[in-house]
Symmetry: C2
Subunit: 223 residues, 2 copies
């Protein structure tokens, strides 16, 4: 990259950081825990959100912002669960930015407890953009391979928790969950690791509990 | 994006296009067919190259350029097959650019028939960068879901062929190959579609034959 490109990129990131800080402040005041989900295309972000919707139902209210390059498909899937969802279509851009989230913030109902943001499917670019979230999760599905953390380090370094998805496929794959977890933890010491099969419902309770604890911590000012 | 960002981006793409045209010219003169492989992380690009190496062995010579953000892992896997391989680590950048390929071109032996480039695992950004290839293939693995073409249209629009991978997992997944192929073909009419299981060797012969025909067409000046 040329020096000019690097400078424009640095300006963009600084502007994004300011917008993200404002979003984080507003969501904390409103008592809404924001979770940013990052992963490759097809790692199971939407299916995980559907499973969390079922698990949190009746106890907590959630809202979802869906990021995609094109189509309203993911927001439509979430709305079928009775969850308010906003679709951002970036029209080519490879990641969400804080200003896109900022435009939706005013529409999110007061009674919401959790705001989940499903980023554009991309294990690279979204890692550099703070969206004002309280918790960042990176998903890694078993078919992608246990060698991915070291190959895409920024996503894992910037995450608070790693969610290994599609564990129902493990019998058919060479994926070693312990290797993936160890490699990710070497990049980001203290990373929390969860294993789930959203299809079977395995591990969803533990993950939902983790988000509920984070919500309570934030609301009590211990975040 | 700001106007300034858009202008810098346009400059970058124009510079890349020039470099790519020079590479394409040189590779045609040398009679080497260049194939650029694009996909999400973990869609099976490296495993496909290993299977193609076995299939082409003894009849044709191939070389591989591996693109990754970090690690030499993929080049090491290819070298174990006795294939010359160069690893480009982009150190954070989300795609390969033609100038990166240009630097390696002089090192590629004269007797090579096929130069395969495995791009950084990313279904978005690499689509905008011509690397001087003759054939561009996009891979979509069955666990990623058959709804991906419309969500990531540029990769499919810019490709000459679609390779549906990991067909051995189809019995365990809701993936519909016909839906994926139809959706991709609606974006790019005339797209050639192949289905492979690199693990079982299924479909590798037809794909290898396709590349051999493209090589012969290029060498006879009918490209």
């Amino acid at each position: 990259m040329s020096m000019k490109t690097i400078r424009v990129q640095a300006d963009l990131l600084a502007t994004n950081k300011q917008a993200a800080a404002a979003i984080r402040g507003e969501l904390r005041r409103r008592g809404i825990l924001c979770v940013n989900l990052l992963s490759s295309p097809g790692s199971g972000k939407t299916t995980l959100l559907e499973a969390l919707a079922d698990r949190l139902k009746g106890r907590f209210r959630m809202a979802v912002i869906e990021g995609d390059i094109e189509t309203e498909r993911d927001a439509e899937r979430i709305r079928k669960k009775g969850i308010p969802a906003w679709q951002i279509t970036t029209g080519g851009a490879c990641h969400l930015e804080a200003r896109m989230i900022g435009k939706i913030l005013g529409e999110i109902p007061a009674e919401i407890d959790f705001l989940f943001i499903e980023n554009v499917g991309n294990l690279v670019c979204p890692a550099s953009y703070d969206l004002g979230e309280e918790v960042r999760c990176v998903l890694l599905s078993s078919p992608e391979g246990d060698d991915k953390p070291a190959k895409y380090p920024q996503a894992f370094l910037s995450a608070d928790c790693l969610i290994l998805t599609k564990t129902d496929l493990l019998p058919h794959l060479p994926f070693d969950p312990a290797r993936a977890a160890a490699e990710a933890s070497a990049i980001k010491p203290g990373l929390k690791v969860f294993s789930v099969s959203a299809l079977l419902g395995d591990g969803i309770e533990a993950l939902a509990d983790h988000f509920v604890e984070a919500l309570e911590r934030m609301r009590s000012g211990r975040a």
